[in-house]
């Protein structure tokens, strides 16, 4: 790769973006608009919320509470756990969205006072699921209370397994104020990067074909790699600037708590930027008109990023085939990382799987893009 040619390519592309009102609008106004449109959660009906159970007593009475949760179609018991720390780790690994803790003196308290507490813990990084799951827990508890009262009335002296009132003590972790903005806004960075990055790059090669400048360009000794990297440099920079802007707005304007490391945030954002730029570039090489290329780019980036990344619709609530499909949606990894860095303060130790997913994605896409462009008509 020749540095002079690479820089000339990057400089020329920068001038063209700078002078093209449409590209500038995408690069500068899109992030503003998208960020401005936020603050609204999307409410959805959720079933089979993964639930962890920490039954400290393991008595007949406590098991009948667990059975009530098992019987309801709202929850699926994903694990039984032996410690409070176990709940934290299960939530960190996404194994459950909620947990119930039955205290060690549950049946004794119940027998003595006629009511006993059950603690419910929610992973509120996903506010939608949390809000809905809280309602479901209340529903299950009400059901328990109704049936036990009825049985008490009916059995006259025969001691049923569970008598008295179960009191619910909900507790919310990770997103204590339960703001859905906190859940959604980190993911918006992914949407904006996907939009801006892929839209701009999808035009970069198709524009040359459409305007008739490609024939002249390929008559020079410039190499395909110089064309690709030269063209991507300015868009890479624009992507990072947009991301920095959005992240700053998220942290300082919307006051989404930021608990993680800026370094990991930067590296993963750069990786995601590379992936979307590579996809845009690949599309641009294949589709020789700008309109077609930008529409395909929209289809291949915005659609999966808004629908399948877990940005608004929680992945663990999707049907199994669609959940499997999200594994090939690159934005899923980035959204997971963003949310974890922001709300949980997770480090590389917790995030190595999605980070590896992004690295693999970026490597494959850039490799494909580097091979895609051919220097002849």
């Amino acid at each position: 790769m020749n540095i002079q040619r690479l820089l000339a390519m990057a400089y020329k592309e920068t001038l063209q973006v700078w002078r093209d009102p449409r590209s500038l609008a995408v690069a500068l106004l899109m992030p503003l608009m998208q960020m401005g449109l936020l603050g609204y959660g999307v409410s959805l009906d959720i079933k089979h919320v993964p639930l962890c159970v920490y039954d400290q007593e393991n008595s007949q009475a406590s098991r009948s509470v667990v059975d009530a949760f098992t019987a309801s179609s709202w929850f699926t018991i994903s694990r039984t756990i032996g410690s409070e720390a176990g709940i934290r780790s299960a939530m960190n690994h996404g194994e459950c969205a909620a947990a119930i803790v039955i205290p060690v003196d549950f049946s004794r308290t119940l027998a003595a006072t006629g009511s006993a507490p059950v603690q419910a813990i929610f992973d509120a990084t996903d506010v939608n699921t949390t809000n809905i799951a809280m309602g479901y827990v209340q529903g299950v508890v009400a059901q328990i209370n109704a049936t036990t009262d009825a049985r008490w009335d009916a059995s006259h002296g025969v001691q049923p397994s569970l008598v008295g009132q179960v009191d619910l003590e909900p507790s919310v972790w990770f997103n204590e104020t339960l703001e859905s903005r906190n859940f959604i806004i980190p993911g918006v960075v992914a949407v904006i990067l996907a939009l801006v990055g892929a839209q701009l790059t999808s035009l970069t090669i198709s524009r040359e074909w459409e305007r008739g400048t490609m024939e002249q360009l390929i008559s020079t000794p410039v190499t395909p790699l110089e064309v690709m990297f030269g063209k991507l440099i300015p868009y890479f920079a624009i992507g990072l600037l947009d991301a920095a802007f959005c992240l700053a707005v998220a942290a300082f304007w919307f006051r989404v708590p930021f608990r993680g490391s800026i370094g990991i945030l930067f590296v993963t954002t750069a990786l995601f930027d590379l992936v979307v730029l590579g996809i845009g570039y690949l599309i641009s090489v294949r589709i020789r008109n700008q309109l077609g290329a930008s529409q395909v780019a929209l289809l291949l980036t915005m659609l999966p990023t808004t629908l399948l990344s877990g940005y608004t619709f929680p992945i663990d609530q999707m049907p199994a085939p669609i959940r499997a499909l999200t594994l090939i949606v690159y934005s899923r990894y980035y959204v997971t990382i963003l949310r974890a860095i922001f709300l949980k303060g997770s480090g590389l130790a917790d995030l190595w799987t999605p980070v590896l997913g992004l690295v693999a994605y970026a490597a494959i896409i850039i490799w494909l893009a580097a091979r895609a462009f051919r220097k002849h008509l």
């Binding site: 020329k12 001038l15 002078r19 024939e215 002249q216 000794p221």
Partner: protein, 316 residues
């Protein structure tokens, strides 16, 4: 295989290109000597652009060999690109970049060092009279200025062979003259130029011509020799309604061809002495009173028409 490669700037043998069922170029042989201004002449669709693209290594031939300045274009396309410059038929520079930015960009792509780029672009801009406009966007230039800018970008790395595809189409006559002045200067400095044109008058300025039709080279010689080799004699008949004149003379005995040329008809006959009175009578029979018949010097267009029989390149 190509023995002339050492003496020729461009040597082509057996060049063929198909686009699906269309054979755009068939079995073309060419040898262009160093320092020539060589013209590929033919009507639209003759295959000029396809040949130029293959010479410029932007289109791969289906068969045949191309050697430009000693480099095998088919096998070593990228190396060949350092020796040549190509100006496509359609303006290929960036309209949203200024003159100076376009030149700077192409200079860099051809590996011209920065200092040299500045000096040479200054020199070329001055010669083309574009220096005062160097900060103007290429999209805001006239057709003639655009073509000159294209030429400057093609010359920034001092190529040995210059390929120009219809460089003066859509250019006003004054700019066209300037353009040719630059080409003549280039030839003086040893650059070999291959250009294509659909303008027959422009073809006459070339040192040698290849007459192209249907993807094949029909004749290849100097303009003078081509004209001398044309059979028969040429008459020009001027009239207010030249179309009527053409219809009146076409197909008469001794008439080999009749071609509309603006306000006159070029008629090729086997024997001028004998046919002039006959034609005059035939035209008068059709009620055309104002026709004037005179012997004429053939142009390349007449040669073309003679060559192709009744197929005429510029008939509407």
């Amino acid at each position: 295989m190509i023995t002339e490669s050492n003496e020729s700037a461009v040597a082509v043998r057996g060049l063929t290109k198909d686009f699906g069922p269309v054979r755009a170029v068939r079995n073309v042989d060419l040898a262009v000597a160093r320092g020539e201004i060589f013209g590929l002449v033919g009507p639209d669709g003759a295959g000029k652009t396809t040949i130029m693209r293959m010479l410029a290594a932007v289109l791969r031939p289906d068969a045949g060999e191309i050697v430009v300045d000693g480099v095998d274009v088919v096998a070593e396309a990228e190396r060949a690109k350092l020796h040549l410059s190509y100006m496509p038929q359609r303006f290929g520079l960036y309209e949203d970049l200024t003159i100076a930015e376009n030149i700077f960009f192409y200079g860099a792509l051809f590996g011209v060092p920065r200092g040299e780029r500045i000096a040479r672009s200054q020199e070329l801009l001055e010669a083309a009279g574009l220096l005062p406009f160097r900060r103007r966007l290429a999209g805001q230039l006239s057709g003639g200025m655009k073509q000159k800018l294209g030429l400057i970008c093609a010359l920034i790395h001092t190529p040995r062979v210059l390929l120009l595809d219809e460089p003066t189409t859509g250019v006003d006559p004054v700019s066209r003259r300037d353009f040719w002045a630059i080409l003549y200067n280039l030839r003086e400095s040893g650059v070999t130029i291959v250009l294509s044109t659909a303008y027959m008058d422009e073809a006459e300025r070339c040192s040698r011509l290849a007459l192209l039709h249907g993807g094949q080279i029909r004749r290849c010689d100097t303009p003078q020799h081509l004209k001398e080799a044309m059979p028969g004699a040429l008459l020009a008949i001027a009239a207010t309604h030249p179309r009527d004149v053409r219809d009146a003379v076409s197909g008469r005995p001794g008439v080999l061809g009749a071609l509309l040329m603006g306000d006159r008809v070029h008629v090729r006959v086997d024997d001028a002495e004998r046919r002039i009175p006959e034609l005059r009578a035939a035209i008068a029979d059709q009620g055309i009173a104002d026709a004037v018949i005179a012997p004429a010097e053939p142009g390349i267009e007449d040669v073309f028409v003679a060559l192709l029989g009744e197929e005429t390149p510029h008939e509407p």
